[in-house]
């Protein structure tokens, strides 16, 4: 049966890559540049090659051949891995040699191509169904190739790379701050949520208050929480010099961490509570009847059965926390958000991208790793 998704995606990519600008040349950092379409950007031969590859994908996916997904995977995977080459050719052809401030940046056509090729890759991997290791390998190859291109000289003129090269130390620092804040918040709230969920299971009276409180925390707009925490934390720091010595102030990492923990509680508490209470009572009855005590029941039965759902909660929370950490830059917490706000302030869109792209990459990475963990924790195989 011919595939229907791939031809649609392929044709869409083909249309958009011809219609939209592949790249933009800016005379300097702030001034809007001039866009270049496909032929203008990479020349007739390059445009022909790109079109040929996309048309090839469409044709291959329409053919009623059984083993077409493997060559398709190779084709799409290789295209994705070599995509930065287009930018390199573009910069090489159009960047004036005598203007040191001129820079190339990525156009809408390139983003569309990247996005649609990624969707095609996901579709092909889904059809192949070869397990997670192949997927990980493909992703590793593509990201490795991108890193290699970005670190090389050919893309030096790309404004994104220029923004990075202007502040490599700050980038690294932002990465660690971002990771520390997001994963610190997730681990703290995971521990907290675990005990809150246990409390809810043990006493019915606590259920509504706890769930109500964590739901309420979730409803406050994130910016408001960051702002609201400034005053009480400043007062605390002023009253107790010891806290000040630890770096706790009205702005900075302390209010950011607190707010992130508060936001992470709802999905964690809810998942942990539901997972632990949904272990069938008949199983607990059997275990108890065989002579297990409550402790053994918890560790041998309830926790193992609940763990995939609990980790699922951690996954949702981690993705949410990574995104929210970007906003925390507003109160001086650091992280990739600081680039975003700086870029917005300076109207330098590529600096915004320098903050936004790694944030997205981190979220995707956390999602992939934790999904893998959830899958490996599911103890029972599917019904035979």
């Amino acid at each position: 049966m011919p595939n229907r998704v791939l031809p649609v995606l392929g044709l869409l990519a083909l249309a958009l890559v011809w219609l939209l600008n592949l790249g933009v040349i800016q005379p300097n950092r702030i001034v809007p540049g001039t866009g270049h379409g496909l032929v203008s950007a990479i020349g007739g031969a390059g445009a022909g090659l790109v079109s040929l590859i996309l048309a090839g994908c469409v044709l291959l996916s329409l053919l009623p051949v059984r083993r077409r997904y493997l060559p398709l995977l190779a084709l799409v995977g290789l295209s994705l891995a070599l995509l930065p080459l287009l930018l390199e050719v573009f910069a090489d052809r159009h960047l004036p040699d005598d203007a040191p401030y001129a820079r190339s940046s990525i156009g809408a056509g390139f983003w569309c191509l990247l996005f649609l090729l990624s969707l095609m890759l996901i579709e092909i991997l889904g059809r192949l169904g070869r397990g997670r290791w192949l997927q990980l390998l493909i992703i590793a190859v593509i990201s490795g190739s991108w890193l290699w291109f970005l670190r090389g000289d050919g893309l030096e003129s790309l404004s994104l790379v220029r923004e990075f090269n202007a502040r490599p130390d700050k980038f690294e620092q932002a990465l660690w701050t971002h990771l520390a804040l997001a994963f610190g918040a997730v681990s703290i709230s995971a521990c907290l949520a675990f005990f809150l969920a246990l409390k809810m299971i043990r006493s019915v009276a606590w259920r509504r208050p706890i769930l109500g409180a964590v739901s309420f925390l979730q409803t406050i707009p994130s910016l408001a929480v960051f702002g609201l925490l400034i005053a009480p934390l400043s007062a605390l720091a002023a009253a107790f010099p010891a806290l000040q010595a630890m770096g706790i102030r009205g702005i900075g990492w302390a209010p950011a961490l607190l707010a992130l923990v508060a936001y992470s509680l709802l999905p964690m508490v809810r998942n942990t509570f539901v997972a632990l209470t949904e272990v069938p009572e008949s199983l607990a009855d059997a275990g108890r009847g065989m002579g297990m005590n409550e402790r053994q029941l918890f560790f041998k039965l309830k926790l193992p059965l609940a763990l995939p759902v609990i980790v699922e909660g951690v996954r949702i929370t981690a993705i949410q926390a990574i995104g929210l950490t970007a906003v925390a830059a507003l109160i001086g917490a650091g992280g990739f958000g600081s680039f975003i706000f700086q870029g917005l302030g300076q109207a330098a869109m590529d600096l915004v991208l320098l903050g936004a792209l790694p944030t997205i990459a981190l979220a995707l990475l956390a999602d992939a790793l934790l999904t893998l963990l959830v899958a490996s924790l599911k103890p029972t195989p599917a019904k035979a």
Partner: protein, 315 residues
């Protein structure tokens, strides 16, 4: 031996079990039978103290259960429930090994025991030990449930409608299996069911319960022949009582045995010693036989049985 003396259990204001007295002798199968809500499951769950009793005394081998640590008490009692209660994240082998593991048996001994029990319950260890409960059929899963209960060789077996969720054919197979195992192991068993035929087939003695009280506690034969009240009479069914009585006895009881087992003629048709008289009569009526040879489990001819004798003395 299990003794219940004046045991009462209340849930709030309702009395679920009302001052019952029941003695289950060592090695016998006591079946508690009655309609749902009559207190039979409650009675069973009080024996292993999953439900504490409100009043009265429960003695296991002469010792008061309330004086014992409940986990210790339950480790010495096999427990089988409807719908198996097997742990879905454990393999069959690990499920069976649950109690021995709680008792910290050495590893080799556990493996050996699991193998032995799978064989006893007619499950091939090579193919079934590594499977997960979801991969088993209902009947296989309940066999594993029974194996798990027997694992640490408890003296007492508590079974709470274990075959209730199975289809009729699987249920009958497991009942026969259970009779075979019980002949071998002679566990003191308390078995709860709402199915009177299951009770008649498995029980040494039946306790008929209604609204928290024991109406009659007697052998299956006496329950059929001399029901203590209209309730019991209705429960056992008035019309086919004769046939039910027949199903309590086997061909062995009424056959004319030869002095020596003989080799049968090739292709000879007949009955087996363990067939119930009810089955025997049914076959003889259908085949229009008046007298047929009887074979033992090895296939030797050990005697003959006649239709007249079954009709005269069967019920």
């Amino acid at each position: 031996m299990i003794e219940l003396k004046n045991v009462t259990r209340r849930f709030g204001d309702t009395v679920a079990v009302d001052r019952i007295n029941l003695t289950v002798e060592t090695g016998e199968v006591c079946v508690l039978v009655g309609s749902s809500g009559c207190g039979k499951s409650t009675t069973l769950r009080m024996i292993n103290q999953l439900l504490p009793h409100s009043e009265g005394e429960i003695l296991v081998d002469g010792k008061d259960v309330t004086a014992m640590n409940p986990e210790q008490l339950r480790l010495n009692m096999g427990y089988v429930i409807q719908g198996t209660g097997l742990f879905p994240h454990w393999t069959v082998a690990r499920n069976i090994a649950m109690v021995p593991q709680l008792l910290s048996w050495p590893r080799e001994q556990i493996d050996e025991r699991v193998h032995e029990l799978l064989t006893l319950l007619d499950l091939d260890p090579a193919t079934h030990a590594k499977k997960y409960p979801q991969q088993l059929s209902g009947g296989q899963a309940q066999r594993v449930g029974v194996a798990r209960a027997l694992a640490a060789n408890p003296n007492i077996l508590l079974m709470d409608e274990p075959f209730g969720a199975l289809d009729a054919i699987t249920r009958e197979n497991l009942q026969l299996e259970m009779l075979r195992i019980q002949r071998q192991l002679k566990k003191t068993t308390v078995f709860v069911t709402h199915d009177i035929d299951e009770a008649l087939r498995l029980a040494t003695r039946i306790a008929v319960m209604d609204r928290g009280r024991i109406i009659q506690h007697d052998t299956p034969e006496n329950i059929l022949r001399r029901p203590a009240s209209d309730f019991v009479e209705n429960l056992v069914g008035k019309q086919d009582r004769g046939l039910k009585l027949m199903s309590l006895h086997t061909v062995r009881d009424l056959m004319d045995a030869y002095s020596q087992p003989r080799q049968p003629e090739p292709g000879a048709d007949g009955l087996k010693e363990d067939d119930s008289l009810r089955v025997a009569l049914s076959i003889m009526l259908w085949q229009n036989w008046n007298q047929v040879p009887v074979f033992n489990t090895e296939g030797q001819e050990t005697g003959t049985i006649t239709r007249e004798r079954i009709i005269q003395e069967g019920a």
